[in-house]
Structure formats: structure tokens, C-alpha cells
Symmetry: C2
Subunit: 379 residues, 2 copies
């Protein structure tokens, strides 16, 4: 397997748009990534596009607006992990020697209104358990009971991420909310209020991957891909443990298994990370995933937060981009926006949200289908 | 690149079903492919699933009905070439040394009623040019004007394929139609009548790919993958030439480019083929593609048909399975059903539709997005 690096990244601002479509947003993200890499579209040998809700041949339609060069384009759909799965296909196509320069892109124009959960058993859907906020709430409620997490903890996660997002030009909200405002916003699924949940929205992101041996001819500013892992649930390993069949207390969760594999692939541990972008679809998930990624022992996610460890200046900054809570979640694009953020952080170009001397960063997306996608980048 | 073989294939009967869903159909195709390969689901290391119209994480949902083993599953969408693109990802994941045993599956429960074309310019959609039968009709009408193809030729293609399909237990129609019946069926887009067009329908297909070095431990009945190619259109190379911008008369079409690349990869030429399964979405396309795949010189597709060369006993049998005209087209699955047919033909197990002593077969799918997918298998 050859070494793979990222030579460029670009995002179209996340938000809810009525004046542009996925083609336009995707083309902007791709053009920005190409400009960042200082290459032309004709230098790209293949493209993988993550998308869930839009049309047939989404990636083809995006590239058709800026120039079809005849390269193979493959559209990838893996729910919240779609962008990460597109990244992984691009990564392997270079690591294996098939190509040298490959585009991983993701785009989403989310449907408005109710979004059904995907991949659930019929009994889960018909009883309403397959609806996202509900199982998020069940998961964190159990965690609160077991480990003393409080509603204030949940509000503090959201307060932090919205505060970080103010400094991210690609975030949707761009607005700070106080712990009180978050606690007092409308209750959606107890204990999660409206401002503790991320919003499905629109956006696009793209990164250019390159074999390390060819990267120098384009740029000196590359970032190394240390790990790219996709783990899918086993039948006895549902990622909604509160409502699933009994799971052994000692059996690793989906994220724990993905993290173990990613750390092994990278030859790094959680103690080596300088920042983490993780799947904060809701405040509770951020607390749970900080534990499952090994940033702190099990049950200590609340204490990690209380100590300020996950702040930009803390021991292990989490979601310095503002996370999904501030950016929203255009599912096809979100993973590649995490990757873009880490690329800029490792290059020291993140401006007011820069983590000092960041050398290693981890991107984590997890979602329907039971996909957990982890990418580790290092300087 | 390592050598890759196919050790098993399975199809769920194509048709229009109201009593079963894509999960069930997919699970039947996968179980049949596993049984054919004499392996268990736990032996599979990764899966790629082609699907266009169904749900988020289609492949995950199919496998969840027969057992989630924790392997990475990636859903692939490339319009009519979705199944072929899933095959290609599986092929490369083994050829590169990443895995040894990989499942390529495709499934579709097609929406009923009007299916819009995908990947067209706005002006094409709004003028109705992006609707499938219309540009099929424009393409073959131009061909008729230039090369003397007649409506009888079109009817004869459909007559042949329906006659072949009677002997294929996986085909939808299972019924012969006379040239007169086909000519006299309802006119859809002149010159194409209803029985000259394929029907979108439901179905599933799966094949198990394996590294050649590991195949012997499972079966002696493997078939070699000689080529797996995905070509995407260039901007000046629309696959609907009759309505697109001027194209140089000497510039190769999408299928011509894909075929050239596939023949080069396989080290074989059209003269080495014993059978071809190609994208007969309509009778005209079969005539055009026989030329573009090099089975006869340009403009001689009608003569090839008149001579009986594309019959099961002919020089180069085309769509001995019945093709899309008899099977219908469940887009996520159709390419993998072509591959399954060729596998059985090369193993001499195709019963009354067997091509004698078949050693090399070619699968061709092409469609929206400007994808052309070619797979060449040899004994």
C-alpha cells in the first residue's frame, strides 16, 4: 500500500438555500479544492461523490457544470458516512496504485421537513424508534442515568460548538447561544432541546487526494492520511444500544471498534490527537463519542467537558469547526467538511479557531446503516 | 494487480412484484450466489451494492435480513451502470490486494409510472428530450436514415430477445412475440413501438469475486475477470449524438472508447468473443451497440442481424439471456445479471439457451450520467 496525502480542500458554505442547487454548491467546493491544490480538473484521474438525497449520478451532474473530462465517476451512498466512504474509496484507489490524483467530493441538498431514519427494523420504524432525535435521546438518557451527565452538560456542548462556529465561515448558524437559551429552547425529545440537535441542511465539500510520491510536483502543503476506516455494525452491535437487543457490557461499540482499527492503522493513539471532529448530531452524542474514541475513560465525558479539555485551548479540542450543531448536517458532505477543517488546522490556516501547533487530527462520522467512518490525518 | 475470478452468481427473478421488497429480493440473490460459490456469508470480507431508486443504505438493509457480519458495505449509484460500477469497485478491491473475497450485489425495486431521465441539461429536460424513449428513438432514427435500418430490423431484435428469454427462468416476459405483433404494438416514440422498449422492473443479482490464488479453496468452477472498465462521457461526447452538440464524425463514441479500453485490458478483441450481453434498452440500441462494440463494421448492425449472427447458434450471440427487452431493467441489478448469465454460459450450465463451448463473454451497460461499463469474462 502506497502513502496517500491530501493536497487540497474546499467547502461550499453550509446552510439552507433556495437560490442554488446541489450542482452549483458541489462545483464551488470542487473548484475551491482544485484551487487550493493548485491543480486543474484535467489532472484528476477519478472521482468519488458522496450523496444521499439528490439525484441519479449526482457527481456526474456536479462535474458536468465545470467540465466533464471523461474520468470514471462513482457515486457512493452510506448515509451519514457517505462522504467518508467516498474518501475511503478514493484513498484505496491511490494506495493500491490504481491512480495518483483522485477527487473525493460530497454534496447534499437536504429535503425539508421530516426525515425518516434509515436501516431500522420494521418494528422500530412503526413504533417511532427509528426517528433520529428519539434514539439520540434514549442513548444519552441511559448515559445520564449511569454516569451522572446532566442537562447542563448537554447545553454546554451546544454552547461550545455554536461559539466555535461563529469563527467558521462555512458554518450555518454563526451565532452564539447561552447555556440558558439552549436549555430553554423547545423540548424535542427529552432531554434534548431544539438547540441541542443539529439541523439537516445544504452544502458541499471536496478534497483532492494524491500519492505521496506525486504530491511534491503540485504542492509542499500536503497533509498525510494516516488512517481511513469504515466499520459496519454486526447484528449484535446496534449503535442504538438503549433500544436494541441485549449487548454484552464488555462488547465494544461500533465507534470503539472503528477507533481501535483506525488507531492501529495509523500507529497512533488517542493521546496523540491534537483535535477531533466528531458526529455531534446532538449534544449527547458528542459526550458519548468522546468516550468511545478514547479521549477519556468511559463515563467521564461530562468531566472532560467540565474541565474545558474539549475547548480550542484545551487538552483535546473537539469540533473546533462548530461541529454539526453549528454547521448543520448535509449528509453527503459533512465528513469531507470535517476532513477539510483538519487539513486547514494541520496547515495552520484556521485563523481565529486555530488549534496551536496541531499535528494530528481525527474525523469521525457515524450513522444509519450502522456505518462508522474514521479518518486520521497527520502533518 | 492480482488476478480476480468469479466463484458464484445468483439472481432473483426479474419482474414486477407487489408481494416482496428489495430486501427480500436482494437476500435471495445473495444467498443463491453464496450457495453457488459454496461459501458462507462470514467468508465475505466486503460488499458493494448497486442501487438507484430505493433507500438509504440499501446494501446494509439487504444483508441485515440474512446476517450482518461487520464487513464494510458501500452502496454505489451510477444509473444503468450501477451494478457494473459495484462490480468494478469489488474487482479493484481484490486486484489491489485489499481483500480476497468480495460480494458485488445489485438490487432494484423500480418506481412505477414515469421515470425521468437523469443527468440532462435543463433545456433537454424541459423540452422533453431527457425522456428515455425519445432519445433512443432519435438515435436509431438517424441510424436508419444513414444505414438503411428498417422497422422490421427493430422488430427482429425484439423477437429474438423475447424468444431467448422464454428459456431464461429469470426473465420477466417469458413469452414469444412475432415480428408482426411487435410492429403492431402501440407506437411510443416513432420508430419504437411498446414491444421494442424494455420495461423498468424489480429484481436482484449478486456475484462473489475472489482472488485467483484463494479461489481453489472454494471451487474449481471459477470464471476469470479479464477486464472491468468504467468510462464516463466527455463534454463533447454525449451518448445521445442525435440531439447533442456537433461531434466530430471520427471521434469515438462512449461505447467505442469503453470497448477499446476493455479489449486492451483483456488482451482480446471482438473476434474472440463467444457471447455478448449488451444494453438493449430498446431494439435500436442493440443494433447500434453491436457496431460500437466492434461485432461488425459501422452501419452493418442490420446485416449482422439478418444473417442470424446474433442468434444463439450464430457467429456472435447477443443477449442470449433475453436481454433487457425480455428481462426488464432493474437498473441496480441488470449489469450483475448479465455477468451471472455469462458465468453460467462459460461454465456450460445455461441449459436450453447454452452457447456451445463458450469461452469468452462480454457484459455492456450504458446509461444516464454518460457511464459505459464493460466487463469481459473468460473461462
Amino acid at each position: 500500500m502506497r502513502e496517500v496525502v491530501i493536497i487540497g480542500a474546499g467547502i461550499h458554505e453550509f446552510g439552507r438555500y433556495s437560490d442554488r442547487d446541489y450542482r452549483y454548491m458541489g462545483s464551488i467546493a470542487v473548484k475551491r479544492a482544485l484551487d487550493d491544490a493548485k491543480i486543474k480538473l484535467k489532472d484528476i484521474e477519478a472521482a468519488f461523490c458522496g450523496n444521499v438525497f439528490n439525484t441519479t449520478c449526482t457527481g456526474h451532474n456536479v462535474l458536468a457544470t465545470i467540465g466533464m473530462t471523461g474520468i470514471p465517476i462513482v457515486n457512493v451512498e452510506n448515509a451519514c458516512a457517505s462522504g467518508g466512504s467516498a474518501f475511503r474509496q478514493a484513498y484505496h484507489s491511490i494506495a493500491s496504485g490504481q491512480y495518483d490524483v483522485v477527487l473525493a467530493m460530497g454534496v447534499e441538498q437536504s429535503p425539508r421537513g421530516f426525515l425518516p431514519g434509515a436501516g431500522w427494523e420494521d418494528w422500530q420504524s412503526t413504533t417511532g424508534l427509528g426517528v433520529n432525535p428519539l434514539y439520540f435521546a434514549l442513548n444519552i438518557r441511559r448515559h445520564m442515568e449511569e454516569y451522572g451527565i446532566t442537562a447542563e452538560h448537554l447545553a454546554k456542548v451546544s454552547e461550545k460548538n455554536h461559539r466555535n462556529g461563529v469563527n467558521n465561515p462555512y458554518a450555518m448558524y454563526h451565532k452564539e447561544f447561552s447555556v440558558e437559551e439552549i436549555l430553554n429552547s423547545r423540548m424535542v425529545c427529552d432531554p434534548l432541546t431544539l438547540l441541542m440537535l443539529c439541523a439537516p441542511d445544504d452544502g458541499a465539500a471536496a478534497v483532492v487526494l494524491c500519492s505521496k510520491e506525486k504530491a511534491a510536483q503540485y504542492t509542499g502543503k500536503f497533509v498525510n492520511v494516516a488512517a481511513s476506516v469504515l466499520i459496519v455494525q454486526k447484528r449484535a452491535d446496534m449503535f442504538m444500544p438503549a433500544v436494541s437487543a441485549p449487548v454484552s457490557a464488555d462488547y465494544p461499540t461500533l465507534t470503539e471498534r472503528a477507533a481501535a482499527k483506525a488507531y492501529e492503522m495509523a500507529g497512533l493513539g488517542p493521546e496523540d490527537l491534537d483535535l477531533v471532529e466528531l458526529q455531534d448530531t446532538d449534544s449527547g452524542s458528542e459526550i458519548i463519542y468522546t468516550e468511545r474514541l478514547g479521549l477519556c475513560p468511559k463515563g467521564e465525558g461530562g468531566r472532560l467537558l467540565d474541565e474545558g479539555a474539549t475547548e480550542i485551548g484545551g487538552r483535546i479540542p473537539v469540533n473546533v469547526s462548530g461541529g454539526l450543531l453549528s454547521k448543520g448536517e448535509p449528509v453527503g458532505a459533512s465528513s469531507l467538511a470535517q476532513v477539510s477543517e483538519i487539513v486547514w488546522q494541520l496547515r495552520g490556516e484556521a485563523g481565529p479557531r486555530q488549534v496551536k501547533n496541531a499535528k494530528v487530527g481525527l474525523s469521525h462520522t457515524e450513522g444509519a446503516g450502522g456505518n462508522s467512518n474514521i479518518i486520521i490525518l497527520k502533518r
